[in-house]
């Protein structure tokens, strides 16, 4: 029972973090933030996850924080189909990898387009110190396999899935549970290499996230989470590009339902909080995500 409860809390935290992963990729052409790597729960040795998500943009927060709703006859949406896997190397170390097919949908008046391409490939590692059981340290590498704006084959850029820059994120996570509840908070820094084809130079951005969850007696979980990431102005040829810093946040409501001994359904609703205090140079998006996860446990 204790093991089942631990797994249940883990799944709740996972559902919240998966939602944050989706939000981190909200604008793949421009801002690069890497989320937490996929992770394994207590006693799990291997996990596979397939997820589908859909998001639409309702408007944008401009560089001064002002909100501009989409004009009539403008539609911007994005569907993602993501596959990822995580494997345990030792009690303390886990590795994960994942990538997505991203399908953009754009409509500007009479001109409409839908096109897709692969996202950047993400490879991550997680270290759970044996002595500090509430802490974990993570690293994530983003490989620039996505298609940039300059490489787009689509008139409206619906197939743009990356900014053409490798990235490396290092972060820390603190998690604590009590009774049927848990809290997880984390922070990270992401170094982004120079972008190919644009002359935009390397930069570093930072992110914070937190989630609060509850596990019901039937092992169903509910979690709310909030993530915020920020980046300084981009530079090109040593000059800061005006208005190019960004800030974005995502709030999510997530849940996990155990379907069988091995499989779990994870679902999330997510949205950009409608305030210029938490978003600049970023679209206001709302979306939904559903993930199926299979896990294999050891003894």
């Amino acid at each position: 029972m204790t093991r089942l409860f631990s797994i249940s809390i883990f799944l709740s935290a996972l559902a919240a973090c998966v939602a944050l992963e989706r939000s981190a990729a909200a604008m793949s052409c421009c801002g690069s933030t890497l989320a937490q790597p996929d992770r394994l729960g207590p006693c799990e040795h291997l996990a596979l996850q397939v997820g589908a998500s859909s998001a639409v943009s309702l408007g944008s927060f401009l560089s001064d924080g002002a909100y501009a709703g989409n004009p009539a006859q403008v539609f911007e949406g994005e569907e993602r189909l993501r596959l990822s896997a995580a494997v345990r190397l030792s009690p303390a170390w886990q590795l994960s990898a994942g990538a997505a097919w991203v399908q953009g949908v754009r409509s500007y008046g009479q001109v409409r387009s839908t096109a897709g391409w692969f996202s950047d490939v993400l490879v991550g590692a997680r270290f759970d110190p044996p002595t500090w059981t509430s802490w974990a340290f993570t690293a994530m590498v983003g490989l620039p396999s996505g298609r940039t704006m300059a490489e787009s084959h689509d008139l409206l850029g619906a197939d743009v899935t990356g900014q053409g820059a490798a990235s490396l994120r290092a972060g820390a996570v603190y998690q604590r549970d009590w009774s049927l509840n848990y809290i997880v908070v984390g922070a990270g820094l992401t170094a982004v290499a120079p972008e190919r084809g644009t002359g935009v130079q390397a930069t570093v951005n930072g992110d914070l996230f937190g989630a609060l969850g509850h596990t019901f007696r039937n092992r169903v979980n509910l979690a709310v989470s909030l993530s915020t990431a920020a980046a300084p102005p981009l530079t090109r040829q040593g000059e800061a590009l005006p208005g190019s810093s960004w800030l974005h946040s995502t709030a999510s409501l997530s849940s996990a339902w155990p379907l069988s001994y091995r499989s779990t359904l994870l679902a999330s609703l997510f949205a950009t909080p409608p305030t210029g205090l938490l978003a600049r140079n970023w679209p206001l998006q709302v979306g939904v995500m559903v993930n199926l996860r299979w896990a294999w446990m050891g003894d």
Binding site: C29, Y108, T148, M149, E195
Partner: protein, 130 residues
Amino acid sequence: MRMLMLALVLSGCGGQASTGSNEATAIAHGKDVTVTSSFDAAQVIRGVNDAELQVADATGVPVDEAEVSVSLFMPAHGHGASVNPTITPQGGGRYRAENIVCTMPGMWQMTVHVVRGALDDTAVFDLDIP
């Protein structure tokens, strides 16, 4: 749909700063060229736009038979457009620019590059995309 809003910015070639914008046209000055842009329906929209560019030299004489190219860049996001606009000479210093595609709201820079013989200059427009 919003009204066309274009404003001159310096071309980086030491061009004289001045402004010129109204509902239908906008003017950008380089060091050696002046480009007047007339957008269809006097609007720049998110999506696909077309424009007619009138190119003149420093003395106001139309520049015909030049190599004219147009590129887009969005400083706030550090990238350009998914396609380069196509340019078709119309004669009399006029050039038709098609597929000026701006896919995000905010400020975009449209750079017009003009080359003819010893003349090699750029003029830059700011486009405010709703």
